[in-house]
């Protein structure tokens, strides 16, 4: 119940924001019959109407995970986010060892397995994609 109402509220805010953003699209020099903002307006309308429906007739509450699991997902999210940021600095191999080991550990492996899987995955993928297939993965200070 509550979750759907929140979704509806967020959706409604998004629809209003979207419609507003459509109104500030700069006027083009030559326009067609509906212009660059006509279709987005229709989309904002559909978004808004369906959001109102969620508020009025919400589905039963989904089963949210317990707080510690939510934190787990949040941490994984942060780690992935961090991975994207440090990739160009640390290079592919080091960053990947860290994130793979972290994910393996959090998915239920022991620390040693996690570390081994981190190193194995990272080196394995590096050999496969950079050395064999010739993709250019992110380079670190040591060149890999």
């Amino acid at each position: 119940m509550m979750s759907d109402r929140v979704l509806g509220g967020v959706g409604l805010a998004l629809a209003v924001f979207y419609a507003w953003a459509a109104t500030i699209i700069p006027e083009p020099f030559s326009s067609d019959a509906i212009g660059p903002d006509g279709f987005p307006m229709i989309i904002a309308l559909v978004l808004g109407l369906s959001s109102i429906y969620f508020v009025v007739k919400p589905d039963p509450e989904p089963k949210w995970p317990a707080l510690n699991r939510l934190a787990e997902i949040g941490c994984a999210l942060l780690v992935m986010f961090g991975y994207a940021q440090v990739l160009p600095i640390l290079g592919f191999v080091f960053s990947t060892v860290i994130i793979t080991a972290y994910l393996t550990w959090r998915l239920g492996a022991g620390p040693l397995t996690a570390l081994l899987n981190g190193v194995g995955t990272s080196v394995g993928l590096f050999v496969l994609f950079e050395l064999i297939f010739g993709l250019s993965l992110a380079d670190g200070p040591l060149g890999f």
Partner: protein, 512 residues
């Protein structure tokens, strides 16, 4: 006979060493991904698209590789259904019902072999259906003007939730979200910036691959983190496989079931909003009605109950290619991902594809035929390899999948901004899955949003801003009717169909 000539040309394209090798690789990877729970065909194809693209494969080669993965995944889904009672992907759900009891009775090898043959029959004849039906549909599609195309896209979104959709508002919400994302970037008609707020990275729009890989593959990692430790009690695949050859008598016994299911599956694949899951569900329930009206053997390890859903789901996956190739409008999640493949390769599917790039279409179809035979070979004598894949624990596997997703997106964009965006899409995907908002309309919206708008604006320009142009041809009215019926019908029927599917599941061994 033109069709056969085209098909012959197609084989000439597909039968090069490189393409054969790619087909084999695709079939192998596909079967493996299908077999692994949590990595369905859509995921499997999605994480491979950026890689196929950066390897610089030609359009036809990349297409052969990825459709082989698609077909392979449809074959592979059954393996874990039979051995572990966990469907490898959604369409393989019905295969659990009789496949697992057969395995428990020590007939796992037989069930695997039989379902392999059934998959082959379904996919093989569906590919023939594709050969004959797609050109016919192209003839109709050539009559479409921009107005009709706009309605056709609307139809695709309206029916995407399928007959089993329980909340159409959520489908509409998802579609609007996807189309809304597609609008970001330069407006192709007038050249003005839309929704970019001065962010340089957004000028070209959001690459649909980032959204697909994030929403599908990364959100799966979050789902696994959420459920860690809850599903670990699977029987570790210690099931005795036994003989992996189907006996002729069992095959003969199951032939009528396979034929019926192939036809049903193909039809539900072609129709909008049905797809492989419904194909296998329909095939199983009809077969049960026909062969076992008093429920004496079905659900207890009847081989026909294994053959029917497998033929059905593979026929449906072939059928789903018909609207995707002929109209450019996919009817299911996986074909939406295949559409993404085509768009990445700068190929716009639809009637013009058949006229301008017949080599691509027919080469692809020929590759499907070849792939089918490869899959039959891979799936009967070598099924043991794939059963061993199931023993790889999730905590080893999922990180590798996530890393391949990161590599793929990094290799096409080379930027931190896009990787960050992919992670955000992953989180969004997880939240939306929790809230029961379907992800496929989002993907389809991102893929088709711009085409949809372009066609609407073209139609409007032709008619000088008269909105009635969207209703002034018979074709348009028929399409509107289907769209409205397809959208409204599930509101009344959706709950019932869903309940039936649930009941079928619970009657089966899934409940224990």
């Amino acid at each position: 006979m033109e069709t056969f000539a085209s098909l012959y040309e197609g084989f000439a394209v597909a039968l090069t060493w490189q393409n054969l090798l790619l087909a084999l690789l695709g079939c192998f990877l596909g079967t493996m991904m299908g077999a692994l729970p949590g990595l369905g065909p859509a995921n499997g194809v999605a994480i491979l698209i950026p890689l196929a693209f950066t390897f610089g494969l030609s359009a036809i080669a990349a297409l052969i590789l990825l459709t082989s993965v698609y077909y392979g995944a449809m074959y592979g889904g059954r393996i874990s259904s039979i051995l572990l009672n966990i469907p490898g992907d959604e369409p393989a759900m019905m295969t659990c019902l009789d496949g697992y009891p057969m395995a428990q009775a020590g007939r796992a090898g037989e069930a695997l072999a039989l379902s392999g043959v059934a998959s082959f029959v379904g996919a093989f004849f569906a590919t023939w259906g594709l050969v004959f039906l797609a050109p016919l549909l192209v003839q109709i599609a050539l009559l479409f003007g921009p107005g009709e195309y706009f309605v056709l896209y609307t139809l695709a979104f309206a029916t995407l939730g399928g007959i089993a959709a329980t909340n159409q508002a959520k489908s509409a919400f998802a579609a609007a979200l996807g189309i809304g994302i597609a609008m970001i970037g330069v407006d192709t008609q007038t050249g003005v910036q839309r929704f970019t707020f001065g962010e340089v990275h957004l000028y070209d729009g959001i690459d649909f691959l980032i959204a697909i890989v994030g929403l599908f593959a990364l959100s799966e990692v979050f789902v696994f983190l959420e459920h860690r430790g809850q599903n670990d009690s699977a029987d570790e695949g210690k099931m005795k496989i036994g003989r992996v050859t189907p006996s002729l008598s069992v095959l003969r016994y199951c032939t009528p079931a396979m034929i019926r299911s192939t036809v049903l599956g193909f039809i539900s694949g072609v129709l909008p909003g049905a797809g492989a899951s419904l194909g296998s569900f329909l095939a199983y329930s009809v077969e049960k009605q026909v062969s076992d009206p008093r429920s004496e053997t079905f659900g207890k390890g009847d081989p026909r109950g294994v053959a029917a859903p497998e033929a059905g789901n593979n026929a449906a996956s072939g059928g789903a290619l018909v609207p995707m190739l002929a109209l450019g409008v996919p009817g299911s999640g996986t074909t939406a991902v295949l559409l993404a493949v085509l768009l990445t390769l700068n190929i716009q599917p639809g009637p013009l594809l058949f006229q301008n790039n017949p080599d691509v279409v027919w080469g692809l179809i020929a590759a499907l035929f070849i792939g089918n035979f490869m899959l039959l070979a891979l799936n009967i004598p070598m099924v043991g390899i794939f059963t061993r894949v199931l023993l790889v624990p999730t905590h080893i596997l999922m990180p590798v999948v996530a890393m391949i997703a990161f590599i793929g997106i990094y290799s096409i964009t080379g930027s931190t901004f896009e990787l960050t965006m992919m992670v955000l899409f992953g989180a969004l995907g997880w939240v939306l899955r929790k809230l029961d908002v379907p992800l496929v309309p989002i993907i389809l919206g991102i893929l088709l949003g711009n085409e949809m708008e372009v066609n609407l604006r073209r139609a409007m320009t032709i008619s000088n801003g008269e909105w009635t142009t969207l209703f002034d041809s018979w074709l348009a009215i028929i399409l509107w009717t289907i769209a409205i019926v397809g959208f409204v019908l599930p509101i009344f029927l959706g709950k019932r169909v869903k309940r039936k599917m649930k009941e079928a599941e619970e009657e089966g061994p899934l409940s224990d």
